[in-house]
Symmetry: C2
């Protein structure tokens, strides 16, 4: 099973797309493996050749989303300056939401918001934590660093999710500005 075989790439992509499509109209739990296969025009036995079950399929897809976001982070954040670093991260975060909005909205449509929250938190926690820990300014604070981190992570992510649902109401730049205003200067 060389993973670069065209057939494998094709069927996996078909299964991913099928799942996301079905999630526009159905709860994830309501979706059966056979539904996914029918939608993807893939035989059921082929499905099981690649994934244990639909949960593995979903989390595999989620991981690919995470990876693409992490790549953007690594390639687009050049500044070592911590002040600018945070706004750059937020910029990339918002760009990610904008680009993947259809996917995220499909997932959110007939499912719990939280699948979305899970994805985004995971991504953010993975990479940004370290930078946060190196931040010299935060060491002076009387509030534990980890709590400051959780506070503003939660804040930014929640605004991001709100924007996802109201993406035509505000531009990316507006949201960015609001966030910059809301985050105190000592952290910016």
């Amino acid at each position: 099973m060389k993973k670069d075989d065209l057939r494998i790439i094709k069927t996996k992509k078909a299964l991913y797309n099928a799942l996301i499509n079905l999630m526009k109209n159905k709860t994830f739990e309501e979706i059966k493996v056979s539904d996914i296969c029918n939608e993807a025009l893939v035989n059921r036995s082929t499905f099981y050749a690649h994934f244990e079950d639909k949960y593995t399929l979903l989390s595999s897809f989620i991981n690919s989303l995470k990876d693409s976001f992490l790549n953007e982070l690594n390639t687009n954040t050049k500044t070592s300056n911590s002040k600018e670093y945070y706004t750059e991260v937020i910029k990339i975060f918002l760009a990610h939401i904008e680009r993947e909005k259809d996917t995220y909205l499909s997932i959110a449509m007939h499912n719990r918001d939280s699948i979305l929250v899970d994805i985004i938190y995971d991504v953010i926690n993975k990479d940004i934590k370290d930078k946060f820990n190196e931040d010299e300014k935060l060491k002076e604070s009387s509030i534990p660093k980890e709590i400051i981190a959780k506070f503003f992570f939660g804040a930014v992510v929640n605004v991001g999710i709100y924007w996802l649902y109201n993406i035509d109401k505000y531009t990316k730049e507006e949201i960015l500005n609001y966030l910059i205003l809301l985050i105190p200067n000592e952290l910016k």
Copy 2:
């Protein structure tokens, strides 16, 4: 089916407890209706007399958690003063986490964090939004009220969840203080 029949109350409670117990060791998806019934010492046909499926069971339990939190909110927030109102809400929020920590940790154990996030957001959004909208101070801000709300809701909830996982590391009072420090005075 009068819902105040002792037998009904008993079996429902048994099913709730069974589910929460099982979630300490298994994913919600791995848990079968028969598992819940065995754990609860309740016949499977009785289960179906009360709930459509395990999803209905879970969300019914979640609703009861939400109700208990909303009750605390309504009975314990007397102040019309908006400054003090927010800190009171946070106090009640932290007290709720502390009292229900075993339940929440069971749910979180082998499941996505986000089930928890879902619960808490739902509760908070339901009741506190209105107060937020009435807040005169916020009308002066250049930032849309809804965004300010999402920002600080996300922040507080995320700190609360962090505390749930590290409940022995900080006291309730410490967390409260940190949050008060992190929320700017104009909003307090």
